[in-house]
C-alpha cells in the first residue's frame, strides 16, 4: 500500500487487493490528479512493469480524476494491452464517456470483493 499526498493534503491510496477469484486488483482510493499521478504511475511501473497483459483497477472509490489521471490509464492500456476498470465511480465513468475512450478500457460492473 502506498499513500500519496500532494501539497494540498489530497490523498490517493494505491492498494493491492485480491478478489474472490484470486486475481490481483489495484485499488485506487481518493483523488487522482496531476499532483500525484506521477507517483502512482511509478509505483505501478515498479511492481507491474514487465510481463503483464492485463491490469485490473478498482476505481470505485476515486473521487476525482483529471486528464492526467486519464492519460495514465490510457497509457497503461496502450503499453499492456488490456486495462480493466472495475466498478468505476460515477465521476470516472463520466470522464471516460465524455472523452470518448470507453472503448479503450474493459469496463466491468462486478462484485468480486472477498468479503461479499
Amino acid at each position: 500500500m502506498e499513500e500519496l499526498v500532494d501539497e494540498r493534503g489530497a490523498v490517493a491510496r494505491l492498494e493491492e487487493v485480491t478478489d474472490a477469484l484470486g486475481s490481483v486488483v489495484l485499488k485506487i482510493t481518493g483523488e487522482l490528479d496531476i499532483s500525484n499521478v506521477g507517483s502512482i504511475q511509478a509505483a505501478i511501473q515498479a511492481t507491474y512493469g514487465q510481463g503483464l497483459d492485463l491490469i485490473v483497477f478498482d476505481l470505485s472509490e476515486v473521487s476525482f480524476m483529471d486528464s492526467s489521471g486519464l492519460a495514465m490509464l490510457l497509457a497503461l492500456a496502450e503499453r499492456i494491452g488490456t486495462v480493466e476498470l472495475r466498478n468505476p465511480s460515477g465521476l470516472v465513468r463520466r470522464v471516460i464517456e465524455l472523452t470518448g475512450v470507453s472503448g479503450v478500457f474493459r469496463i466491468r460492473e462486478i462484485d468480486l470483493s472477498q468479503d461479499a
Binding site: A10, D33, S63, F64, S68, L70, L74, E78, G100, G103
Partner: protein, 553 residues
C-alpha cells in the same frame, strides 16, 4: 496579472532587507536584557550587602556595649583593691591609737613599684591642725604634705574616700584620702603614680582583649582627666561605647572602641563575601542572558531567513508563472478575430495552482466571406511539454483548416501526429466549421466536451459523435455532425477546467454552466465573464479556455 517588469524589482527588495538584518545580527552590540539582568543582580547584591553590613554593625555595636559593660564590671571589681587597704589602715590606726609601726606594717604590703600605692601616710587631727603620724613610701619625695592636707580636708566632707589627680613635676599621680566620721581624729592619705605608658593593670583582663579603651577620672573626657589608655589618639569617630563606675567621691569613665571584630571575623567579612558573590553571580546571569538572547535572536534570524527564502521562492514561482502565462498568451490569438456577421468572444483563465503552463487553447479562423473554422482543444497534463504539444497541434490544425479540410479530415490527419506513449500527452479537440450567413455548422469531436448551444433563453449541449482523443491508439474514424442553428444562436465551447471541480460531479459543473448562460441579452463578452465568475473561484486549479460564437442574425 502582475506586470512582468515589477517582479525583478520586488525580488531585489527582498534580497536587500535581510542584508540590513544581517549587519544587526553580527554586530557586537549587547542585548538590552543583559543590562537589565545585571542591574537587577547588582541591586539585589547591594540590598544583601547593606543588610548584612547593617546586621553586622548592629551586632558589633551590641557586642561592644556588652563587652564595655563587662570591662566596667572588671574596673568596678578593682575599686576595693584601692579602698580596702585605706580603710584597713584607718581601722588599725584607730585601734592602735595612731601607732606608726602598725601602720607601717600594714601598708608596706601595698606600697612600692607595681603595687597599689607609691606612698601612703597616716594623719592625725588635733587642735592646731593635721599632722603626719606615719609615712610609707618608695621614696620620701612621693609624699606631698600640702596635697595630703587638701585631700584630707575634702575627705572630711565626703562619705567615701576621695580621689584627686595631682601633678608631681612631669608625672601624674592619683591622690586618695579617707576620713571616716567614726575615725575620730585619724585620716589616711595615699598616692598612686600613673605609669608613664598609661597602661592599666586591669587591661590585662580578658574583658579588654578586643577593645581599645580610655579611662578618665570623672565624667569629663578631657586629656587632663585621662588616667590610662590604649589609644594612640583618643577616639573621635567610629563606634565606641562608654560606661562609668563609682570610684570614691567620683567616677571612672571607661570609653571603648573595638580593636577587632567582636563577633569574630566571619560576620564582618560576610558583606564582602556577599558582595563579591553577588557581583560574580550578576555578571554570570547577565552573560547567560546575553547568550540566550543572542541564541534567540539567531533563531529569529534563521526563521526570518527561511521566511525570506520562501518569499524569494514565491517571487520566483510568481515570476515563472508570469513567464508561463506570457508564453501561453503568446500562443493564443493576439486579438479576437473579426468574423463578418458573427460576434466572437474568448476567455482564457490561467489555473490558480502551480506555475506550470497549461495546454488549453482556442482558435477562430476566417476561411472566406461566410465560412469560418473554430477550434477548442486541451492537451492533457501541464508544463512546457504540454504547451509545446499544444502549439504544434494548434498550428497544424490551423493550417489544415485554412487548406479547406473538413473537421473530420483535420482530426484524422492530426491523429497520427500525437502519441500518448511517446509524447506523454493526449489531446481532446473540438473542430467546427460554420457559416455566418446560413448558420450551418459542421462539428467533429476528438474526446472533447460538447459545446453549449443557447437558442434564445434555452441553453442545451449539442450532441456530437465523440471520438477518441488525439494521441490515444484507436483514434481515427471520426464522424461529423452538421446542423443548422436557429437565428441569433450562441455557441459556447470550453475546456474541462470550467466544469471539472474537485469534490463534485462533472454534471453539476455542466448544469451550472447552463444556469450561467440562461440570460443572453447581454453582450457575448459579458456572458463569458459571468460564466467564468460563476463557475470558478480562487481554488480553481486547471486552466480554462472558452470560445463564444454568436450569430448576429
Amino acid at each position: 496579472m502582475a506586470d512582468a517588469a515589477l517582479i525583478p524589482a520586488t525580488a531585489e527588495v527582498g534580497v536587500t532587507n535581510p542584508t540590513v538584518a544581517d549587519q544587526a545580527w553580527f554586530s557586537r552590540r549587547p542585548e538590552g536584557i543583559s543590562f537589565k539582568v545585571l542591574a537587577l543582580g547588582l541591586l539585589v547584591t547591594a540590598v544583601v550587602v547593606w543588610t548584612s553590613w547593617t546586621l553586622n554593625n548592629h551586632n558589633e555595636s551590641h557586642l561592644l556595649t556588652l563587652q564595655t559593660e563587662q570591662a566596667g564590671e572588671v574596673l568596678l571589681a578593682a575599686v576595693p583593691s584601692t579602698e580596702t587597704p585605706l580603710s584597713s589602715a584607718l581601722e588599725v590606726a584607730i585601734a592602735s591609737n595612731g601607732n606608726p609601726h602598725q601602720f607601717d606594717r600594714l601598708m608596706s604590703a601595698y606600697v612600692g613599684a607595681a603595687r597599689t600605692f607609691t606612698s601612703a601616710s597616716l594623719w592625725k587631727l588635733n587642735g592646731s591642725g593635721l599632722h603626719q603620724v606615719a609615712v610609707v613610701a618608695e621614696a620620701p619625695q612621693f609624699a606631698t604634705p600640702a596635697q595630703a592636707r587638701l585631700s584630707i580636708e575634702l575627705a572630711r566632707r565626703s562619705p567615701t574616700f576621695t580621689v584627686d589627680k595631682v601633678f608631681r613635676g612631669q608625672r601624674e599621680s592619683l591622690a586618695y584620702a579617707l576620713w571616716l566620721p567614726t575615725s575620730d581624729r585619724f585620716a589616711v592619705y595615699a598616692e598612686h603614680l600613673i605609669p608613664a605608658d598609661r597602661r592599666s593593670a586591669v587591661a590585662k583582663n580578658s574583658a579588654f582583649s578586643d577593645l581599645y579603651y580610655a579611662i578618665y577620672l570623672g565624667r569629663s573626657e578631657t586629656p587632663a582627666n585621662l588616667l590610662t589608655t590604649s589609644f594612640s589618639h583618643p577616639p573621635t569617630a567610629g563606634a565606641f561605647a562608654r560606661t562609668s563606675v563609682p570610684f570614691g567621691n567620683t567616677v571612672l569613665t571607661l570609653v571603648t572602641a573595638p580593636s577587632a571584630e567582636l563577633g569574630g571575623t566571619l560576620p564582618g567579612r560576610l558583606p564582602w563575601i556577599f558582595g563579591g558573590l553577588g557581583v560574580a553571580l550578576s555578571v554570570v546571569a547577565a552573560l547567560t542572558a546575553e547568550y540566550l538572547a543572542r541564541r534567540r535572536r539567531a533563531a529569529e534570524h534563521d526563521a526570518g531567513e527561511i521566511l525570506r527564502l520562501y518569499g524569494e521562492l514565491g517571487a520566483l514561482f510568481g515570476q515563472q508563472r508570469t513567464i508561463a502565462v506570457t508564453l501561453q498568451r503568446a500562443l493564443l490569438p493576439k486579438e479576437t478575430p473579426e468574423i463578418a456577421g458573427m460576434e466572437v468572444a474568448v476567455k482564457y483563465v490561467p489555473g490558480g495552482r502551480g506555475m506550470e503552463i497549461g495546454g488549453d487553447w482556442y482558435s477562430v479562423i476566417a476561411l472566406d466571406d461566410e465560412r469560418f473554422a473554430f477550434i477548442v482543444g486541451d492537451v492533457s497534463g501541464r508544463g512546457l511539454n504540454a504547451a509545446t504539444v499544444m502549439a504544434a497541434l494548434r498550428f497544424t490544425i490551423r493550417a489544415y483548416a485554412l487548406e479547406g479540410f473538413s473537421p473530420t479530415a483535420i482530426l484524422e490527419k492530426c491523429s497520427g501526429q500525437l502519441h500518448l506513449l511517446t509524447d506523454g500527452h493526449f489531446a481532446t479537440v473540438l473542430v467546427g466549421v460554420g457559416n455566418a450567413r446560413t448558420r450551418s455548422i459542421t462539428l467533429a469531436n476528438a474526446g472533447h466536451f460538447n459545446p453549449l448551444l443557447i437558442d434564445g433563453d434555452t441553453p442545451a449541449f449539442l450532441d456530437t459523435v465523440v471520438g477518441v482523443p488525439l494521441g490515444v491508439s484507436g483514434s481515427g474514424g471520426y464522424e461529423s455532425v452538421t446542423l443548422t442553428l436557429p437565428p441569433a444562436s450562441t455557441l459556447i465551447a470550453f475546456t474541462d477546467g470550467l466544469v471539472e471541480h474537485r469534490g463534485e460531479s462533472l454534471d453539476v459543473g455542466l448544469k451550472r454552466l447552463i444556469e450561467a448562460t440562461r440570460h443572453t441579452e447581454d453582450s457575448l463578452d459579458l456572458v463569458l465573464t459571468r460564466v467564468v465568475s460563476d463557475l470558478t473561484d480562487d481554488a480553481s486549479e486547471d486552466d480554462i479556455a472558452i470560445l463564444g460564437l454568436r450569430w448576429k442574425s
